[in-house]
Symmetry: D2
Subunit: 342 residues, 4 copies
Amino acid sequence: MSHKAIILGASGYTGAELVRLISTHPSIDIVALSADRKAGMEMAEVFPHLRHLDLPKLQKIDEIDFNRANIVFCALPHATSQAVIRTLPADIKIIDLSADFRLRDPEAYEAWYGKPHSAIDLQEEAVYGLTEFYRDEIEGARLVAGTGCNAATGQYALRPLIEAGVIDLDEIIIDLKAAVSGAGRSLKEMLLHAELSESVVPYSAGGKHRHLGEFDQEFSKLAGREVKVQFTPHLIPADRGILVTAYVKGDPNEIHKTLADAYGDETFLQVLPFGELPQMKHIRGSNFCHLGVAGDRLPGRAIVVAVLDNLTKGSSGQALQNANLMLGEEETAGLTLAPVFP
Amino acid sequence: MSHKAIILGASGYTGAELVRLISTHPSIDIVALSADRKAGMEMAEVFPHLRHLDLPKLQKIDEIDFNRANIVFCALPHATSQAVIRTLPADIKIIDLSADFRLRDPEAYEAWYGKPHSAIDLQEEAVYGLTEFYRDEIEGARLVAGTGCNAATGQYALRPLIEAGVIDLDEIIIDLKAAVSGAGRSLKEMLLHAELSESVVPYSAGGKHRHLGEFDQEFSKLAGREVKVQFTPHLIPADRGILVTAYVKGDPNEIHKTLADAYGDETFLQVLPFGELPQMKHIRGSNFCHLGVAGDRLPGRAIVVAVLDNLTKGSSGQALQNANLMLGEEETAGLTLAPVFP
Amino acid sequence: MSHKAIILGASGYTGAELVRLISTHPSIDIVALSADRKAGMEMAEVFPHLRHLDLPKLQKIDEIDFNRANIVFCALPHATSQAVIRTLPADIKIIDLSADFRLRDPEAYEAWYGKPHSAIDLQEEAVYGLTEFYRDEIEGARLVAGTGCNAATGQYALRPLIEAGVIDLDEIIIDLKAAVSGAGRSLKEMLLHAELSESVVPYSAGGKHRHLGEFDQEFSKLAGREVKVQFTPHLIPADRGILVTAYVKGDPNEIHKTLADAYGDETFLQVLPFGELPQMKHIRGSNFCHLGVAGDRLPGRAIVVAVLDNLTKGSSGQALQNANLMLGEEETAGLTLAPVFP
Amino acid sequence: MSHKAIILGASGYTGAELVRLISTHPSIDIVALSADRKAGMEMAEVFPHLRHLDLPKLQKIDEIDFNRANIVFCALPHATSQAVIRTLPADIKIIDLSADFRLRDPEAYEAWYGKPHSAIDLQEEAVYGLTEFYRDEIEGARLVAGTGCNAATGQYALRPLIEAGVIDLDEIIIDLKAAVSGAGRSLKEMLLHAELSESVVPYSAGGKHRHLGEFDQEFSKLAGREVKVQFTPHLIPADRGILVTAYVKGDPNEIHKTLADAYGDETFLQVLPFGELPQMKHIRGSNFCHLGVAGDRLPGRAIVVAVLDNLTKGSSGQALQNANLMLGEEETAGLTLAPVFP
């Protein structure tokens, strides 16, 4: 059976990535694409790399007949997302890629995003979309909240360790290196080639990055107590990819074993042999996450390194993986493309 | 039915790209991989981006049982390639990605490659692998010679124009911009990040690049007279992709129409509307070739711009496309992955 | 004696480059900097790489006392530039880096820039700023028009050849590869890292690029007849640098000798031995232009390759070189910094 | 008075950088250049960006008359360096850029570099070359050991804090991002453009990087007790630059004040206002080090970020700064070039 999908916000990078991935999916068809400011244009004009595909024209959201579809991918900016999603038919499944439904607590939402949530009932209903850890809930969900791409990477590195209690919960540092597409196709000076190439740029340092809201929520829930990590993201001159270097205290071998055991059956989460660390380029364009653990010369200390493609496993690939679960399809359908290297 | 494939020279970029593409192919299995100097290693050690795949270990060529396979992809260096291919069983289909069987004329081979051909009977037998123009021969061939990646790009831009006689055959200039993976995974100073980033490097200028042998052979054959183009390749700081800017004399609209007509039914050859020119990034990681034509302010002059991914449409994707024909499979099987952008 | 300089439009890349170069100049002090939208800010906020310098705050133009200075560098957008320059005191020397005074013919200006020139008397007075060819006029000028960066590169490759009559004037093709800073610090999608990295983008193809106005004017004047070149610029993923590949007809050795003779006494124009071609990275951050000539296998054809840094020799370095002449200083003062490699 | 300098190992990046910097120095002339495998070649053949300079030919070391010089810059590989330096005349001043004389303790040298030191008397004599902290010793030294480039960056971030006792000495983590030229002009697969672009590569993790030897020595000496930091370097796709993100425990404002006070009079060490963090690109090609401090949301935690150019302040610029001191010249001579941005 073929599913009918709508992508809202198709003129951004995550929208384009959804189209790319769905184009090889065996049982999902795209029936509508929205992009308010580019309504009326062909997708090939906005993203010439998709010109070989037979795609619907871009429309305004209010021109779309949602009854034609059984699943909606919502790649709109946060705040816009909650306003739109509350107007959708009740029987349609929704995967939101914005930040709007990631945080369970309305106060936490307001604290991190600067205004009250306007759809608190939906916020309650939404399931957090980190697939490997919320599979059962996602299968039965109507509304799934895609995670932050940085938040996903950090959680893949740390969740099993926090849950198993093999690391010191008060001494977790996440130093993150992020490629530029995570910031979207937005016209900001720091995203210009001339500004970013040959550079490394720390940003939102000191506990200001919004994905901390997700870390706080998830890690505290796992630990059964408050867990607050230290988190510094850095923009690096690359297009796709996130590399997390997590500094933790605990027994390195136990840490490695805990991760390897937790992910042993996971298709997309690949744990390298102890002492080997992954490189960012080795997952580009794919839904894989590579993880590695190395001990330090200082006893009781280790680093955990995790890499994934922010546009794939970090957002659109994750969204499709969740859609597969929600639609009763094979979880990996359309997602087993090998990374593009070099 | 499932085909059994062997890849010789699997430790280079074209070998890895073959594995990537075949991993999504519905009916080809890889049964052996060779890499003489890395024999005994896992492919994941040589190319960690392929670690999720269940692949045979790398072997020496003489350890491989060729009877297990019905098709061999030979990604060895030229000269080595002819020596190896002549030893293969007679009933196995072979796609050679080296330069060894591209030129029909033994003298031309010797002139461009600096030594006599050692397998002239095979050279005679081989079919030139530019799929869209040699489909019938490829379908029935035992040995297909993959084209040069630069040679493929230039030919896609120019063959229909030369054949139709709509451009001046004595005034063709090909200015080519090539990403670095075309040079392979070889340790050369000019391929270092520190040397190439922020640079553009003209090389083999003045008629010295070996792919001129292919241009001469194919263009002259098409025209029924000697055609010699002027050709300057430039290395640019990118990993994948070739952009050809071909300067021709003729009526721009007729040139565009000729190309658009010639490629109208081709899946992988996409001609943009008149006046629009393609960008290199828009085909990255895919088997597509985008083409555009623009007229000049000087009457009777035009540029034709063609872009493709040297590792995909320029070599390993082409090889798989040819394999599909040789094996009686759908020509596009395993090759319709959308480009990875950004 | 120390000269007093004002830089108008200091918040752009050419403005910052002027500051960088003047900071090592033995006899020029910067007394005022303008940037209308950023007035009131410190230069270090706009360009943190200049934070070690003791610079005046950014001001609005009308806040500046021009009597404090004897030279003005005007790095404003075209059209704005003519409006501002006509209001400056008559006794101040001016180097304009915009396109406003490059073309001598008001009709040509209107044709290329889309509106009539509003300061035709200044247009008449202005001297074209290609230093090595207009030294005498520049020395005595009050107003010098900096050349286009692409226009400068193409002219260094071709002027001596056109003047000497050693190439066919009707068969000149300029294929140009330009780094991204030539487009300035402007927020355009095509200038984003995510769009440009790993790409090559032809633009303004077919005779639409405005620097053709300069080529037409200068080459025709040199030849004493109309000369119209074919010109295709390509944006490449680098920050600084222009590489011109000029395709010409003529005797390669004569072409090389003509260039080598013409530039033998020039500090900044370095002609490589016959057959050697320059690389873009080898002039980065400097005022040098490297040139090379190679013959083709087709008799009577050659390529001339020229590279320079668009922000230095292509604009701000050229401006300072001209300022040195206008101020009676050593022409090379502040300009002999070696390229930064790698 | 003019000094006469010899550069040994001039065919590497640090050698070329020395030539670049000395070329604008008012009182140092280069009288000889060595490069054993490239002896007989012109420097312009090895480094075309230096072709405008009038430089001696490359020679073998044993062809050089050391009596012509009063200072030697030794940019040879470690181990080679100690062998060569012990043969130099006793009255010549020497700045060694290798690792050979950085560690005071022969056992530490052997532990980190894998073989015994062969010139222990010189090791004792050598002064550690971190200019701002060893000025007096360097002024009077005959042999100065240039620091590791990573080691320099980490020390600029941390020395005043350790000395002042404002951070917890047992909880220091240095996460470092290094551009590729720090690895030299060596032919290694991981340094290829195709491998490094679009990637981030952690290396020597877990306490294996040799620069830890310098951290241990210097930090322990400052603290008067053993101090061992955790240190993870990452290779990033850029040519020049190091960015250190140091995670420390202490009062953020006190940390900032300590750094700002310590470096208030230093020309090259620029401390940004509290809460602002430096970017790697803003010091490219210069001898400046920018530093910033930000507090964390977790009380008593801070990050210190330091950036410098590994080839300039991290090696060759440091070497020239030390040479100035040793020769009685102005410390900043030849080193005040502004960074090249973009």
